[in-house]
Symmetry: C2
Subunit: 312 residues, 2 copies
């Protein structure tokens, strides 16, 4: 047989030679599957390598839609009822492209990263924060695991200064506005910017009290004005919120287009800036006293801390 | 030419003969496109009919994954960097099936229904509620547009009594628990149940005050206990919340599996029951005084009312 043995990822022209070990994750609404596979190694030593394969169906391409609506796309009828008909359609390969990412060789850690993690809801009272979350954060910061030097580098113009959209340099109430990594700075339908206050020592929503209302109002007012001026989106088109728990512990605020359907905007994680200002006006220690309800993955270290303390 | 002219939906075996008029909606994360097309009518009178075509890529079928990982799936390389490679993959038609729904002939109303509606964020102060929302609701109720007789029928066991999961008959603090229409009552990973209080006259979160805390605590405690007992899901696996604005104006509470990725769980609409109880404990009139921030579609009648009053 003249057929070349497909190995690893080098010179690969088909998906042949990948043995399916297991499905790590399957998102049926977003049409993404993460697989664990075994592939012959590039070294040609007959060894099998672990691989992670991420498959994602592509969105419909608006330029190819008329081609899709043609005799090239075969149908089988599933259901016909009056004006409604449902079919299974089989478009030709050139109109059915999917995005395939192969990580090979993959380590245990890669496999774990792409494996579906069960989430659990945790309730963090004010005393849980003092006794569990805060000591955990301080330990992680001391061990340099939660390093926020990169945030200070931005605030001090040591890096990314060309990415700054706007700056109010005031040390108490000022902030820097810059695009989130997920935004290309061009497509305003995907607008996503982050406001980072200059003030140090505010780790999260938990640290806010009535004295921070001027800072928050400043960010809300100027942030919205700058986004309208530079990108043409009005306040009625923007979602403005904190995360709790945040992904890093220097206070920051998310501004994004309300049309964007994205993770992290759910009631279990997002707290609207307008609500935060109103709550602090009602009770200066609102967020210091609040019981927060949020979701943690079962392998999250904070979840393990809550478990160790018998709280979940 | 021997080729049969494809008309309407009858005997259709391909997607040929559909002229693309416009893309009505395109959800790139869920891979769904809604199209307006023109089709030759089934009547063979040479007329063109309006049609709505809804195309949705199917999730990966776990039974066909090994077949997909074969030489039948051709690749082109997009990027190679160390252990990471990204490809565009072209699976054969039998592994690329999509769901196609055709509505033909489609009316103006069908076309509007499937057209993307822009959403806007609205802020409703306590006085906006009194001056705009409440008069609007009362007018709709008087005109029988917002009819909640179906809720009373459930509470009075006139309909759906066989669907009741649990009932606490108390007139002040009691409630009925029943499956949401979207749940099949079997698959606990998709669990979705609704609690409807017996008490009349509570339209939404806006009407709640400190006196309703016993009702809310009763629903939370008994609702969670019943769901754990009957379906084996613990409180740490459940999202429990109100909608504001709700879809109907008799107070009700959503319980669903936190693993479910579904609309209506965002911070702009969902209010966690645990937070509601805590806020009412802090301030009995919390929700009567609150400024609510929520999203309305541009063709929503309530949005048009806010617009008429110069509030958006």
């Amino acid at each position: 047989v003249n057929e070349k043995i497909t190995t690893g990822t080098v010179n690969r022209s088909t998906l042949s030679g990948i043995g399916l070990v297991s499905v790590l994750n399957d998102n049926s609404s977003r049409k993404v599957a993460c697989l664990h596979g075994k592939v012959a190694s590039d070294g040609n030593d007959g060894q099998l390598c672990d691989a992670v394969i991420i498959l994602e169906k592509k969105p419909f391409d608006q330029n190819n839609l008329q081609q899709l609506l043609s005799k090239k796309t075969k149908l089988t009828v599933d259901l016909q009822n009056d004006i409604y008909s449902t079919f299974t359609a089989f478009p030709p390969p050139e109109l059915s492209d999917i995005k395939a990412t192969i990580i090979c060789p993959a380590t245990e850690k890669h496999i774990r990263k792409y494996t579906k993690q069960k989430s659990f809801i945790v309730q963090e009272t004010a005393s849980d924060y003092q006794n569990i979350t805060l000591p955990y954060l301080e330990k992680q910061i001391a061990a340099n695991v939660f390093n926020i030097q990169w945030v200070f580098n931005i605030l001090e113009h040591k890096v990314e200064s060309e990415r700054i959209i706007y700056e109010d340099p005031d040390k108490e109430n000022g902030f820097i506005l810059l695009p989130d990594m997920k935004w290309d700075r061009v497509d305003k339908t995907a607008l996503y910017v982050i406001a980072i206050p200059h003030k140090r020592g505010l780790r999260s929503l938990r640290d806010l009290s009535a004295e921070h209302i001027p800072l928050l109002e400043n960010i809300l007012t100027k942030g919205l004005a700058v986004i309208e001026e530079k990108f043409g989106l009005k306040s009625s088109e923007l979602r403005v919120y904190f995360h709790y728990q945040p992904s890093y512990y220097h206070l920051h605020i998310h501004f994004n287009n309300v049309e964007l359907d994205m993770p992290g905007t759910g009631a279990l994680r997002a707290h609207l800036l307008a609500d935060v200002i109103e709550n602090l006006t009602l009770s200066g220690n609102y967020y210091r006293n609040k019981t927060f309800t949020f979701e943690l993955r079962e392998n999250d270290n904070l979840y393990l801390e809550f478990q160790r303390c018998g709280k979940v």
